[in-house]
């Protein structure tokens, strides 16, 4: 199948005083049309920065894209001008932000905010845009009668639906969802995920799902990429990763989850903390926390290797 988006060796850095924070260090993945990839990892692993890199929205001047390519249908988004990118953002690639409480403008009605993207990217008249926006509201499960209400009149879950409606208003080909359910409680999470899945299937939108919740990934993703310290350390199909995690970090992640059918006294955490991104080790960045690492791991750069078809890991011990 045709690849919708292909990220090749993306590198993003932030300047912080004299130090350089290496947030994303050579991330590569690709996604086919209509599929969903989950980017998983702990806080600070570079998930959101990767997403901003794809949108070419890395906050300048502190942040800079150091290298790599983001091929969207074969065109490199990183070489486009900001003006060209504006045509793409919201129209062909949309993003959903983490916090529904602050992602909506408090002084405009939600309906107008949904219609704004339509005004920017389509030639619909004001009335048509209004009708389309109301249609989007119904699709995400908000009565169209609430078009004229303001964000503060909505609950968190409803706000997140509004944000999803904004993102999907122009029927983008790619939707980047940055922890869309993190700020919601569990029952609402399930509803929102359900709704996202339905809409994705209907519109045949591809999705990059950023999350640290392995349960969410299992719900909605076809592929998984586990990120650690700005690299994808393991990637593969949902089944490959969940049934057969190979990288010690991925294993650790699964071990740290409570299991419903086992009587566990204590959860097993991954010891230690992520390495300082201003001073990443030469070799494997996970080595200091890895149960199977030895001296060679610290010094040798880990390359991504395919251990079965479509299943890549960056670990010389296991490949």
């Amino acid at each position: 199948m045709e690849k919708l988006i292909e990220v090749k060796d993306l590198r993003i850095e932030f300047a912080s005083g004299k130090k350089i924070v290496k947030a994303v260090n050579g991330v590569s993945f690709s996604l086919e049309k209509g599929k969903t990839i989950g980017l998983v990892g702990e806080t600070g692993a570079g998930k959101t920065t990767t997403a901003l890199g794809i949108m070419n929205l890395v906050p300048a001047p502190a942040g800079r894209i150091r290298g790599g390519e983001v091929l969207f249908k074969g065109e490199d988004l990183l070489t486009k001008t900001q003006q060209e990118m504006r045509q793409t953002r919201g129209n062909r690639i949309s993003m959903i932000f983490q916090d529904p409480m602050t992602s909506l403008n408090p002084v405009f009605t939600v309906g107008d905010q949904i219609a704004e993207g339509l005004h920017l990217h389509t030639k619909l008249s004001a009335l048509e845009a209004t009708v389309k926006a109301q249609d989007m509201m119904e699709r995400v499960g908000i009565p169209a009668a609430r078009y004229n209400e303001y964000p503060h009149q909505f609950s968190g879950g409803m706000k997140q639906r509004v944000i999803i409606a904004i993102a999907l208003a122009c029927s983008p080909e790619l939707l980047i969802a940055d922890e869309p359910t993190t700020a919601l409680d569990v029952t609402i999470q399930a509803q929102v995920l359900d709704m996202m899945r339905n809409i994705r299937n209907k519109l045949n939108t591809s999705m990059i799902m950023i999350t640290h919740d392995l349960g969410v990934v299992k719900e909605i993703c076809d592929q998984v990429a586990v990120m650690y310290a700005g690299q994808i350390i393991e990637s593969g199909s949902l089944k490959q990763i969940y049934k057969n995690p190979q990288h010690p970090y991925t294993e650790g992640l699964f071990k740290s989850l409570p299991k419903i059918n086992e009587n566990t006294e204590r959860l097993i955490p991954i010891k230690g903390i992520m390495p300082d991104p201003t001073n990443l080790p030469e070799g494997c960045s996970f080595a200091s926390r890895c149960p199977i690492a030895d001296k060679s791991c610290v010094n040798i750069r880990q390359l991504s290797k395919e251990i079965e078809k479509g299943h890549f890991i960056r670990c010389m011990k296991r490949s």
Binding site: M85, R89, N91, T102, S103, E116, L127, T130
Partner: protein, 292 residues
């Protein structure tokens, strides 16, 4: 606004402004303020018909008459009817106050928004210029500008508006700085909005509250500065009636004939009060979160 919702797809664009007008209408204090302002506007337009005497009808035989049925607010040192002069003064004072604030607030807002939004060098260049202007006492600045341009109503307005641009720029910049960090700005960017659109549609409406408050206060300041300039002969030249200059001209008689300064002062105070009431109401009406 569930009540005003019509339930069909034709609702709408206009309903947002209708709603704001409705909320303003509900606000008694704001309406009172608006009413007072309208009365002033009415006075200004029909001054020729409403004023019992001309604004420069001097008659030394009737100097210093206390307020009475014949001379409602009394007469001044030259025997002019204060009531008539205040009515004529509405024309000048309102015009100076409103126009100079309109000029300074729009330029100040523009500069502040650009400085706050783009930051870095742009911010530095704009704000350092503003700082230089702030370092000069505003009355001194107005005096030098007015002196350079020569006396006259429009020159006074220009002088005063230039003098109050810095405070607008600073206030707007400060509030743009807080608003631009919010996630909805990034969200707007992610749907492809341009910088201009983000500033105008997303950031400035969120700064309106501070701008409105500053503007209503600015009108008062502008009227007073006009009087200051008039006092030293750079503003409105006598005998043109202007509240501020009436105040300063009457200063020397304040002990024996307090009403000479009392009524012009009262006129200024009521204007500011009305503007503040209206400005507050407008701010509340524009802020959907304060909706009840």
């Amino acid at each position: 606004m569930k009540k005003s919702f019509k339930g069909n797809s034709k609702l709408v664009k206009s309903s947002q402004s209708k709603e704001i007008a409705y909320r303003l209408w509900q606000n008694k204090a704001a309406m009172a303020g608006l009413l007072i302002l309208l009365v002033y506007v009415f006075l200004a337009i029909f001054a020729d018909h409403l004023a019992p005497y001309g604004f420069d009808d001097q008659d030394l035989s009737r100097r210093f008459i206390r307020p009475s049925a014949k001379y409602l607010f009394g007469t001044d040192n030259l025997g002019r009817d204060i009531f008539s002069r205040i009515i004529y003064g509405t024309r000048i004072s309102l015009r100076v106050g409103l126009i100079s604030v309109a000029i300074s607030s729009s330029i100040g807002t523009l500069l502040g928004a650009i400085a706050g939004f783009y930051g870095k060098a742009v911010d530095n260049i704009i704000m350092r210029c503003v700082d230089v202007m702030l370092a000069i006492p505003s009355i001194l600045l107005a005096i030098s500008i007015a002196a350079a341009l020569g006396p006259g109503l429009s020159n006074v307005m220009i002088a005063i508006s230039i003098g109050s641009i810095p405070s607008f720029a600073r206030i707007v910049r400060a509030s743009v700085l807080t608003v631009k960090e919010q996630e909805f700005v990034e969200a707007a960017r992610s749907i492809g909005a341009s910088d201009l659109r983000i500033i105008v549609r997303h950031i400035l409406p969120n700064c309106l509250a501070t701008i409105i408050v500053q503007a209503t206060l600015g009108v008062a300041g502008a009227i007073l500065s006009t009087s200051g300039l008039s006092f030293i002969g750079l503003g409105i030249s006598p005998p043109t009636p202007e509240w501020g200059s009436m105040l300063s001209a009457g200063r020397q008689y304040i002990r024996d004939h307090g009403y000479i300064v009392f009524f012009p002062g009262l006129a200024i105070m009521i204007t500011i009060f009305a503007l503040n009431l209206f400005g507050d109401g407008l701010r509340d009406a524009l802020d959907p979160r304060l909706k009840t």
